[in-house]
């Protein structure tokens, strides 16, 4: 069905127009004058009947082209359903035209009048356009008609505009991004559904807070900072694309990309802006992750660099340690030889020439001899210290009770000399280098015997316990003790707390102890109390290499 023209009917005058146009369409299609009149009368009669029940109706005049001939159609559209084919007007119309059909459309009802035209009529688009043109430009036959036509055109335009507006609004509402319009003060005029749902805030709330309830204060601050003299909204209003953190309804900030365009009305007067905010959180996250990754990578590289430097330093240290040990070994070994000669010749001098020397000379010789002996002890100890190396240590199951008992046997003479009472508890069996732990206990016990109080019987207690996989051996004595602040110092090489005249010694014994516990991944510590005694604690792992 091809519509040629449409007529809105509101009154009698409109009926006349409908009648007139129906006749004209029949005329165009080659119908005889009587047939034209019949069609026009049928149309006007049906319209009149329908108009009684409807305030306004439309009649659409159209052409259908089937089976090589045209059919002219008048379709009356109305909204009341109580129009029936047996209504008098419709029965009458049925006698004037080929067919009268009633049908229900989507939102309206239609009465359709059909009239066949002579077979010779051709149907073409050009022809249809020509007819349409005719009706559109038909001279109004009265001033009323003119006003009315203008009215109709206006009504159609309004309808189109409303429809277009409705479409845009529907589009704006359905898009998954925030669309807003705001005025020169930054006041929101419109915010789409997404914006309101996303932020959980209505236009009023956003306006009341001057956007601060939705946009992160830092972002507003940075905008302020950038454009000190302008107000916040001028930045929003600029066409520049900016990134903002927008608060969602859960109160979390989500990165958005925002932009706005200025829209002017026809008079260039009141301005407003249309803007959008689109979620770029994912993109931002990827960026951040990449940045973090880069930072991480850099940190990693830095770390690797430090590690390498550290390893180099450790290697250097190991080398220098090894060299030092080598030096200590060779030096002490080679120093021993000339020292031995000094001792022997001293003795030779003393024995062979004693008769020829006076008391002073003999005293000097004895002093030289004592100095040589001290030096010899020192060299021996340094040599022993340097001999204790990781590579020299072999671990095996070691019964510490046995080790300590053997050490005490070796110290038998000195124990007797000191009149010492030694109590030994049961000590654990651990994985250790027996030779070295023997030396460790010998050094500590020798000290206990050496630093005894005069005129007081020396008492030494040795006890053991196991705590967290470590064997703890306590060696307590009632000797002269020492000030607690020296508890760590005494384990240093050549560290002595007493004059050589008071107590002999090289200051290496406890350094050797520390070295031995270090090589066993253990510890040795000391606590002292002047005039009361000393308490040494040796801690050694029960199993080596167990972490």
């Amino acid at each position: 069905m091809t519509e040629i023209t449409k007529i809105y009917l509101e009154n009698e005058m409109d009926l006349i127009l409908a009648h007139k146009r129906s006749m004209k369409l029949a005329d165009f299609n080659g119908l005889s004058l009587s047939a034209q009149t019949s069609f026009g009368t049928a149309v006007s009669e049906v319209c009149r009947h329908v108009m009684v029940k409807n305030s306004s109706i439309t009649v659409s005049l159209a052409i259908d082209h089937t089976k090589g001939r045209n059919i002219i159609i008048a379709q009356v559209l109305h909204t009341k359903k109580d129009i029936a084919v047996d209504d008098e007007a419709l029965v009458y119309a049925g006698k004037l035209v080929d067919a009268v059909v009633i049908s229900k459309l989507k939102n309206s009802y239609a009465v359709k009048l059909e009239q066949k035209t002579p077979a010779r009529q051709k149907f073409s688009i050009e022809q249809v356009d020509e007819w349409r043109y005719f009706f559109r430009n038909e001279k109004p036959f009265s001033p009323y008609e003119e006003v009315r036509m203008k009215n109709i055109q206006l009504k159609e335009l309004t309808e189109k505009l409303t429809q277009s507006e409705r479409q845009y609004k529907a589009l704006a509402e359905s898009l998954p991004l925030s669309i807003v319009t705001f005025d020169e003060k930054g006041e929101l005029v419109y915010a789409n559904k997404w914006m309101q749902e996303f932020s959980g805030q209505g236009i009023d709330k956003i306006n009341d807070s001057k956007w601060q309830s939705v946009i992160h204060e830092d972002d507003i601050a940075s905008i302020k900072h950038r454009q000190e003299e302008q107000n916040n909204f001028e930045v929003l209003q600029s066409n520049a694309v900016n990134e903002y953190r927008v608060k969602n309804r859960e109160g979390n900030y989500v990165w958005h990309l925002g932009s706005s365009v200025e829209v002017e009305d026809e008079n260039n007067a009141s301005k407003y802006w249309v803007g959008y905010l689109v979620d770029i959180q994912a993109q931002k996250l990827v960026e951040e992750t990449l940045k973090d990754n880069a930072a991480l990578k850099e940190a990693h590289e830095q770390l690797a660099h430090y590690q390498l430097a550290l390893e180099e330093r450790i290697q250097e240290l190991n080398n220098s340690n090894f060299e030092l040990e080598q030096f200590a070994y060779i030096a002490s070994h080679d120093l021993q030889e000339p020292l031995r000669k000094l001792l022997v010749y001293n003795d030779y001098l003393q024995k062979k020439y004693a008769a020829q020397l006076d008391a002073d000379a003999l005293f000097v010789i004895s002093k030289m001899n004592a100095a040589c002996m001290r030096m010899r002890n020192l060299i021996t100890d340094v040599l022993n210290f340097s001999k204790i190396r990781k590579t020299e240590i072999r671990f095996s199951q070691t019964d510490l009770t046995l080790v300590v008992k053997n050490v005490l046997e070796g110290l038998d003479q000195r124990i007797k000399a000191a009149d010492a009472v030694i109590t030994i508890g049961e000590l654990p069996v651990i994985e250790a280098s027996g030779l070295h732990v023997a030396q460790l206990f010998e050094n500590i016990l020798s000290n206990a015997l050496k630093y005894k109080k005069e005129n007081v019987r020396c008492e030494i207690t040795i006890s053991g316990e196991i705590i967290d996989g470590n064997a703890l051996i306590h060696i307590r004595d009632n000797g002269i003790g020492f000030e607690d602040r020296y508890g760590e110092k005494i384990f240093g090489l050549f560290q002595r707390l007493h004059d050589k005249e008071e107590f002999e010694g090289t200051g290496i014994g406890l350094a050797i102890c520390r070295k031995i516990t270090d090589l066993h991944s253990g510890t040795v510590t000391a606590a002292g109390n002047p005039g009361v005694g000393a308490h040494f604690t040796v801690s050694l792992p029960i199993v080596q290499g167990a972490k």
Partner: protein, 133 residues
């Protein structure tokens, strides 16, 4: 040089002097021959084989240039003419593995050099006792 009962092999002139002094002080003269290193000791022993005047005791220092004590010990023990001569190692080194090795290679004793003259006197007496038992 007249062959003597004891051959003292040591590159250290002090030790040679002190041992000699000790022997003299004990009143034992002309019983020690001295060699400054292993090579000279073996030359001496070769000529002693030829004249059939072998020493009764050889005292060997270990740390010597050219040929050390261990090498000399091996050479002597491989020589049919010399292997029965008693050998004492006389060294400054208190080294247990080395001591064991020397004893297993045929040395009868391993003595550490004394640190006083008295020790030298005792050592000289001990050597004399072995050489003239």
């Amino acid at each position: 040089m007249k062959p003597r009962a004891i051959l003292f092999v040591d590159d250290d002139s002090d030790d040679r002097f002190l041992l000699n002094a000790a022997f003299n002080e004990l009143g034992y003269y002309d019983c020690v021959s001295y060699a400054e290193n292993g090579e000279k000791a073996l030359h001496y022993l070769q000529s002693a084989i030829n004249t059939n005047e072998l020493p009764r005791l050889i005292v060997l220092d270990l740390n010597m240039p050219k040929m050390n004590g261990t090498q000399v010990l091996k050479a002597i023990k491989q020589n049919d003419y010399l292997r029965d001569i008693e050998i004492i190692i006389f060294s400054t080194a208190i080294n247990d593995p080395q001591r064991k090795k020397c004893l297993s290679n045929g040395a009868v004793n391993y003595l550490v050099k004394p640190i006083d003259y008295t020790g030298f006197l005792e050592t000289a007496q001990a050597f004399y006792n072995i050489a003239f038992s």
